[in-house]
């Protein structure tokens, strides 16, 4: 019985460490946003940090690191279908027949790049 309470006490300690890590990464997220990467790198960095934070919450608070196979299976299926959904949405957007107006196929960029864009104009 005392072994179990020792276990839970050390688990509680880990929760506090994770809390600290989450606060650190949150500060990092805000801090990094002041550095002026381009949009793509900015998104990647932000998402990476969010993924780290999310994994901490999922594996420790939600006990996922010691969960059962069936739960992993359900979650992996979910992630696969979510990613497929997002990827295919984006792919359908970019793959269009030649001559379609809004996509400047020559430069491989969308015409919107030629218009005033807040990201390039604004000085941070």
């Amino acid at each position: 019985m005392s072994e179990k309470s020792h276990d839970i006490k050390s688990e509680i300690k880990i929760y506090y460490y994770v809390f600290g890590a989450l606060i650190f990464f949150s500060a990092l997220t805000v801090g990094v946003s002041y550095i002026h990467f381009g949009l793509i790198i900015g998104i990647t960095v932000a998402l990476l940090i969010a993924l780290v934070k999310g994994s901490l919450v999922a594996s420790h608070f939600m006990h996922l690191k010691s969960e059962k196979k069936l739960v992993y299976f359900v979650l992996i299926m979910t992630v696969i279908f979510f990613l497929s959904m997002m990827t295919l949405f984006i792919a359908s957007f970019y793959d269009v027949p030649e001559g379609l107006k809004f996509l400047d196929k020559e430069k491989g960029k969308t015409i919107k790049q030629q218009l005033p864009n807040h990201h390039e104009e604004k000085k941070h």
């Binding site: 979910t78 279908f81 497929s84 959904m85 792919a91 359908s92 957007f93 793959d95 269009v96």
Partner: protein
């Protein structure tokens, strides 16, 4: 565990029949409600078919009961025709078929077939039913709004649906209720199947019906939420005047629309079809499950290729998530992405064919009993075959250019759902009626129901392929009359309408049979009148609260029919007898 004597009969009326948490009662609730909606949705279509057969003629007998907003002088307005069309689809799919397959058959049969006392979450089950009921009420009320019900197709494409009358808002709200109901119900089914299986009931001993319901439940859980997201976005567009789906520069009735613009019309289509494609597998998988049970039972043989069927249904479920844009070939997608969806769509036909073939081959060498359930099950096979095969030119992007949004599509999917799924539903009702009520339905009336239904189903839907190939578009109020190229196939409209009305008449023997057999049907002499192997037949009839008298233990697979050296031509799953394998 002596369940059958639980004092459920001491529950007050409203706890026993209205707010029941017993899966069998909830199954009945779903069943009766869904049968009503199926009939109602069918009625909507019979009304539409009058307009198609006799355009601009007053509807006889009942025309005078309709308001001037819908049918002045009994003549259908185009706006009303569109409402009938949109609501026919919505009601049949979401208020009829899915609730009866998953809510009624799923709830009633699954706990019994896995040897459980109830579903995993009985109160959640009750909540699911009432959410469905509320959704149905909201949908029905919408007919009485100024401007009438939703009229932008069951697909509710933007931007038309965003600027449509208030019926569309009710459609969205109704769908939100229905989606929640399905989600919670599917969750319940998955947990029940994984957690409450009887001892010895390993996965490859599960009846195919259970596998089909399990895959269906996963489809519902993972595919419905994006439609809920889309519904929220469309609601925002309609009520808060956002522009999720409203493109810039849209002109309506000569006036530019006062919205911020910048939205994507295709976003709605992607989100909608992300659900709606898996949804069609929700419509067929449980039906295949029902047919499999009935075929095994009435051929007195194990299913041929059970394992292939299981692998196929799982593979099909997985693939169904990545085929959806074959509904969007004509939206301006490029060749690469179209080729991707075409490939996945072609591949997904394979597991369907495997399942259908296995069911066909299961008939070979069987001692076939031609009761009414089996008649419907046998008819299902070629009818679903026609539906499936006619899907091939639709799944290929190039012929789809000609066939998209024509009557060919309507013919294709109706063959699958009408003489496909609905026949499976009828089969299931005739089959499980004795277990649910302790009485059999009348076989003669069953024949009166079956034969005309089979004939008239084909009468309604076969000519649609001809009209579609000739280029007649869907959702046309005049049935194609305005198009020069359609003139030669227009005469089929009258033929199809009469087939539809006669099909309606053919349901009367079923309705009479169903209601009268509930009270006066011939009582069954045993708990297992079909001499079936699966666990639901090893309970008292009808099963009491808790279902099984003693906790069932499973020793063998689900289709041990005609086992050599066995004392009878079937061995039930929970029969401990040890048989020598010769």
């Amino acid at each position: 565990m002596d369940h059958a004597h639980h004092d459920s009969h001491l529950l007050p009326f409203w706890r026993k029949y209205i707010f029941s948490t017993d899966h069998k009662m909830i199954g009945f609730q779903y069943g009766f409600t869904a049968l009503f909606f199926l009939l109602f949705g069918f009625g909507l279509m019979m009304l539409m078919r009058w307009q198609l057969a006799y355009p601009e003629q007053p509807v006889p007998f009942i025309g005078k009961f309709f308001s001037d907003d819908t049918m002045p002088g009994g003549v259908m307005l185009p706006e009303f025709y569109n409402q009938l069309g949109a609501m026919h689809g919505t009601i049949m799919v979401f208020l009829g078929i899915v609730p009866i397959l998953v809510g009624a058959f799923g709830n009633f049969v699954i706990p019994l077939q896995v040897g459980a006392p109830d579903m995993a979450f009985p109160r959640l089950n009750m909540a699911s039913y009432w959410l469905y009921f509320l959704g149905g009420v909201v949908m029905l009320i919408s007919f009485f709004l100024p401007g009438g019900a939703a009229s932008s197709g069951w697909t509710s494409y933007a931007p038309l649906s965003v600027i449509a009358t208030s019926g569309q808002t009710f459609w969205i709200i109704g769908m939100a209720f229905l989606i929640q109901s399905s989600l919670l119900g599917a969750l319940n089914i998955i947990v029940t199947i994984f957690q409450l299986r009887a001892k010895g009931l390993t996965f490859f001993r599960l009846p195919f019906f259970i596998w089909a319901q399990l895959v269906t439940a996963f489809l519902l859980v993972l595919a419905f939420p994006p439609l809920l997201a889309a519904a929220i976005l469309q609601l925002m567009d309609r009520i808060a005047h956002t522009s999720f789906f409203m493109p810039s520069g849209l002109i309506v009735s000569g006036q530019p629309l006062e919205v911020s613009g910048g939205g994507s019309v295709l976003l709605w289509q992607h989100l909608f079809w992300f659900l709606a494609h898996p949804e069609v597998y929700v419509l067929i998988l449980p039906a295949m499950g029902i047919i499999a049970e009935i075929i095994a039972n009435n051929t007195r043989k194990p299913l041929w290729g059970y394992k292939s069927m299981v692998y196929s249904v799982v593979f099909l479920g997985f693939l169904s998530f990545i085929v959806w844009a074959h509904h969007m070939y004509l939206t301006g997608m490029g060749t690469v992405i179209s080729a991707f969806f075409q490939a996945t769509t072609m591949i997904i036909s394979i597991p369907s064919v495997v399942i259908l073939t296995a069911l066909f081959i299961s008939l070979w060498g069987g001692s076939i009993r031609f009761n009414v359930a089996m008649l419907f099950a046998l008819a299902f096979l070629p009818m679903f075959g026609i539906g499936g095969l006619t899907g091939l030119p639709l799944g290929l992007a190039t012929p789809d250019i000609h066939l998209h949004d024509t009557y060919y599509v309507i013919g294709h999917f109706h063959y699958i759902v009408a003489p496909g799924t609905i026949f499976a539903i009828f089969a299931g009702i005739y089959y499980w009626f004795p277990k649910a009520t302790g009485r059999k339905m009348n076989e003669f009336f069953g024949h009166l129901h079956f034969w005309p239904s089979l004939i008239f189903m084909n009468g309604v839907f076969m000519p649609m392929f001809l009209q579609g190939l000739a280029g007649v578009s869907r959702r046309l109020y005049d049935g194609g009359a305005q198009y020069v190229y359609a003139q030669e196939v227009l005469h089929w409209n009258e033929f199809m309408s009469w087939s539809a009305w006669l099909l309606g008449l053919a349901q009367i023997p079923f309705i009479i049979n169903f209601i009268i057999s509930l009270f006066y049907g011939k009582k069954v002499e045993s708990d297992n009148p079909w001499q079936a192997t699966t666990l639901e037949w090893q309970t008292p009839t009808p099963p009491g609260h808790g279902n099984f008298l003693t906790e069932p233990v499973v020793y063998r697979g689900p289709y041990e029919y005609s086992v050599p050296n066995a004392p009878k031509d079937f061995v039930t799953q929970n029969d401990p007898i040890e048989l020598e394998i010769k």
